[in-house]
């Protein structure tokens, strides 16, 4: 199908974007990479009065490391994130996730901020942001505010961003010596996940001292595992503790069912991934790389 009629502004400054958002609110849609907005327009699932194209705003670009934090600009394209030396060095979880983010042509256009602001429950980057304890900078004419990923994702394509706010950047703290594990299952490489985990774990002297276990493609938003973490915190990651974490999963997750996978199947697949991920983390922390 073809997109419905709309007005289009190629924004030339941040101020212009914020003024338009103030005026149009929910009647405006931000066009960044367009890899989710354009399908929604073509299928007429979205019919905004105004499209604000932010691709020309230089302030929203770039990836930088400073004072123990990585800043990823909202307009950083997936391909830039995937190839970034900063991301590979400081955010290995995101580096591991990037090959799963859609397909080559989509990665060439799609943006980090777009994925975060859309908050698709099956998307990789919101889950990584949650596991990495990232925060997001939102700006309106009234000013800037910073919000933690754990407060930002509210539900099914729903976030804490107000209609007059623009997502500017993600700020991601670098944690040395934490072990990243990213696993997902999809019907076809690059398609939306039907189960996925983004874990970051701190293992000291063979004992799991702390972890952030994010599950995605299950609930309406990425979920931080609490019961599964409680089962392994302070423990050695062995078959017994890993099974305890897997057994606790139903307390953490009540997956949604869809045509791609039933709720029961998703929960089962998450238990498979959790088992694999924790075993991989233990192997990585103790220097015993598992054969592929």
């Amino acid at each position: 199908m073809k997109a419905p009629k709309f007005s289009y502004v190629r924004a030339v400054s941040l101020e212009q974007v914020l003024e338009l958002l103030e005026r149009y609110g929910e009647d405006a849609q931000i066009l960044a990479g367009g890899q989710s907005l354009m399908p929604a327009l073509n299928m007429r699932l979205s019919a905004p009065r105004l499209i604000i194209d932010i691709n020309g705003i230089a302030a929203l670009q770039g990836i930088a490391f400073k004072d123990g934090m990585v800043r990823i600009g909202a307009l950083a394209r997936h391909v830039e994130v995937a190839n970034s030396a900063i991301v590979h060095q400081h955010l290995p979880l995101i580096a591991a996730a990037m090959p799963h983010v859609a397909h080559v042509a989509v990665r060439n256009r799609g943006t980090f901020g777009g994925s975060i602001a859309l908050a698709d429950p099956a998307a990789e980057l919101p889950a990584c942001a949650l596991a990495l304890d990232a925060s997001f900078v939102l700006q309106s004419l009234a000013g800037r505010r910073e919000i933690a990923a754990s407060d930002f994702f509210k539900g099914f394509y729903a976030t804490a961003r107000l209609p007059n706010e623009l997502l500017i950047e993600a700020l991601i703290p670098v944690r040395q010596n934490w072990v990243p594990v990213f696993l997902e299952l999809a019907r076809r490489h690059g398609d939306f996940a039907i189960a996925g985990v983004a874990f970051q774990l701190f293992i000291e002297g063979g004992i799991l001292a702390d972890a952030r276990l994010a599950y995605f493609a299950s609930e309406a938003r990425p979920t931080l595992g609490r019961a599964s973490l409680a089962a392994i915190k302070g423990e050695r990651l062995d078959a017994t503790s890993i099974e305890a974490a897997v057994s606790a999963l139903p307390e953490d997750l009540a997956p949604m069912g869809s045509a791609a996978a039933s709720a029961k199947l998703r929960l089962y697949l998450q238990s498979v991934l959790t088992r694999r991920a924790l075993a991989q983390a233990q192997a990585a922390a103790t220097g015993h790389a598992r054969p592929p």
């Binding site: 199908m1 073809k2 997109a3 419905p4 009629k5 709309f6 007005s7 289009y8 190629r10 066009l31 367009g34 890899q35 354009m38 399908p39 327009l41 073509n42 299928m43 009065r49 499209i51 194209d53 691709n55 391909v79 090959p99 859609a102 397909h103 080559v104 042509a105 989509v106 060439n108 256009r109 076809r188 490489h189 690059g190």
Partner: protein
């Protein structure tokens, strides 16, 4: 607000400068096909899943149906017609024919555009890498095997010939 809003654009298509006034809601492939008559770029799903509309915009592979024509203002666009005329993937096209890597041919322009991006890197690729790279392009006829064969063989041939031809 309720009328059809239009905007002038200037861009380069297959090396030729082009200037037009386009409806702001028109996507790039509709512009190329219906205005410029470049019908080699196909529209399958029109929502970014099938890859038939693959194009090269400013040097990188994109989904043509997921870009507005107005966003191509100032851009350098290469379609399958342009790729064909420069001979950049003439050897791959020959390999497609030899190995029956196309049947109905609907996906072929997109497949060639996608493969061209992989081949520009110039290095040998494993079959798994080729499959991962082409995963965003649907083919409903061949079962993909012959397509992977063609890309693999062409990359091997280029590597043995000892050169980056691009």
């Amino acid at each position: 607000m309720n009328g059809e809003e239009s905007m002038p654009i200037r861009l380069t298509v297959n090396g030729e400068p082009v200037a037009h006034v386009v409806p702001v809601r028109q996507h790039l492939v509709d512009f190329l096909r219906s205005v410029l008559g470049l019908t080699g770029t196909h529209l399958g799903c029109e929502h970014g899943v099938c890859g038939a509309c693959s194009l090269r915009v400013d040097g990188v592979l994109v989904r043509g149906c997921l870009m507005l024509a107005v966003q191509a203002d100032g851009a350098d666009v290469v379609t399958i017609e342009g790729l064909d005329s420069t001979g950049e993937v003439a050897d791959l096209q020959q390999a497609f024919v030899e190995r029956n890597a196309l049947q109905c041919g609907f996906c072929t322009p997109g497949m060639l555009m996608a493969a061209a991006e992989l081949m520009r890197a110039g290095a040998r690729k494993t079959r798994a890498e080729i499959r991962a790279h082409l995963a965003g392009n649907f083919c409903r006829c061949t079962g993909y095997h012959a397509i992977v064969d063609a890309v693999f063989a062409t990359l091997e041939q280029r590597a043995s010939a000892g050169g980056n031809r691009v």
